[in-house]
Symmetry: C2
Subunit: 349 residues, 2 copies
Amino acid sequence: MPTSPSDLAYVPFVSVADMMALVHARGLQRVLSELTDAIEAEFRRWEEYDKTPRVAAHSPGGVIELMPVADDESYAFKYVNGHPQNTRRGYQTVTAFGVLSRVDTGYPILLSEMTVLTALRTAATSAMAARALAAPDPQVMAMIGNGAQCEFQAEAFRGVLGVTRLRLYDIDEAATRKASANLAAAGFEVTACASAQEAVTGAQIVTTCTADKQYATILTDNMVGAGMHLNAIGGDCPGKTELHPDILARAATFVEYPPQTRIEGEIQQMPEDYAVTELWQVLTGAAQGRQGADQITLFDSVGFAIEDLAALKYVHRCVTEGARSVPLDLLADPDDPRDLYGMLRRAAP
Amino acid sequence: MPTSPSDLAYVPFVSVADMMALVHARGLQRVLSELTDAIEAEFRRWEEYDKTPRVAAHSPGGVIELMPVADDESYAFKYVNGHPQNTRRGYQTVTAFGVLSRVDTGYPILLSEMTVLTALRTAATSAMAARALAAPDPQVMAMIGNGAQCEFQAEAFRGVLGVTRLRLYDIDEAATRKASANLAAAGFEVTACASAQEAVTGAQIVTTCTADKQYATILTDNMVGAGMHLNAIGGDCPGKTELHPDILARAATFVEYPPQTRIEGEIQQMPEDYAVTELWQVLTGAAQGRQGADQITLFDSVGFAIEDLAALKYVHRCVTEGARSVPLDLLADPDDPRDLYGMLRRAAP
């Protein structure tokens, strides 16, 4: 007679609908602030993690990547694809899901959608970096590139740094209209601009998050004023950059994981000995962040597995506290671990 | 107002219960035979695959591995852990799940349990190798190690090669009792033996699938007679072997993926220039298999990602033909791919 799987066999699954319900139940602002703190807590423990560059399978149409990372207690990986042509067919360019596991047993303890969660953690990571690097009390943020990530960045910078005035520009006016409508409805003071040059005027922070461009120059040197903090999100794979190298030559550059950023980030344009500071060292106090009010600081963000692990741990904690999930019968759990065959036999109808 | 996710957002999930139902609906023998052919079909296309060694996260208690592989159409990865101490706590030593994706869109098209499926594909791979390498018409198989994999091996060798007489030995008598009872009930002629030496007497095929032993010597040279086929399953990670090196010096050895087998297989005991033949080349006719009735052939099996991809493609085909699965809301699918934030907003309660 078939018996029900034991509790050990079940892994909580957080669907896209569940993730959106979690965000609405806690509030987007609170989730972004909590995520920012959760990611910073893991960045401060940077040296305790076993880190590897992501494992990528490239094809003519795009890439599928696995991003694993672990410390003594937790293991996580994210599956993420990047297929620039997908939107033409009604698919997402990027989709993602992830798993959190216990290192001591190897058992998964959470399976979660990560398309929405990655948007949240990317914005939270940017806010974390800006909190550490930007000049105090930024009021105005320019946002070049008004696609899927734009509004999440704005929300995180409002929650964590108090930014409420936004200047938007995208080469696609429809994207700017979409983001302007969303952000005005969310209470931001929004100015839609006709050029990147116009957008950066008067901004203390500039966020670049364009997509699909190969070696684009979204910002040129003359557009970057003294004391600005640049939050460069869009240049995140080989052959994809947003900033003119002259900006990099002037700026103090901060990165997540140098072996990955030198391949994927803005600094792929620079010589291998171009100096960068690891962001985690700024957060622990081991390295200096901004040096003076006039310095240009640059967060050359490409995304790293520790951010995903922090986000999955955060979602797991929310589930433990009652956030909605569905138990999945993902793991075989025979009464006698050596008797997998007997379990199969007994499941006969 | 929240709207329902579109079909693109859903990924079919095959649970442990669904996998067992699939096996019973089609019949275990048929599933193993079909899997053997499915794996052989992919082995014949070996050169079309983008292969990498597995990505392992080691800890004092065990290992968590990701095994990705892809060709032009399909991408698959398996998550699998190995924690020898787990059984003491009522957990499985090995659990696994996997994902099959389309390379052109990067979208997952199947999430499946793989604890049961790995047991099936491992047995099918062994049967595939023995079909190509063993002397004709084997009647008797010795099985040293009577744990979770034992009965699946027996079923596959019956279905694919017609083996019906089994001689079992395990240092743990309870394991032999468990396997003997299961296999006798399944119609095998089973002899429980008091030693490995006794078990191999009169056997044409010897399957070794012990666990937990470090550099164990399950078989010594004097136990291996002319013409035997050795199916070595248990030696599958660094520091874990089953065969005395003298056997390897006499045998013709066939492997899955040499870069992985030299680290994980029986041949880790041998010099780096120890000659091996890649099994896929035997299957395509590019290399010779058995050379004469007296030769000892050895399949030094460690498991490879192409076997998992073949198994996931097989399960996906079964699902397409009506096998049970549950649709999971794993992928965000906003009406406008650039408006992830708008999708989140509209999901507000």
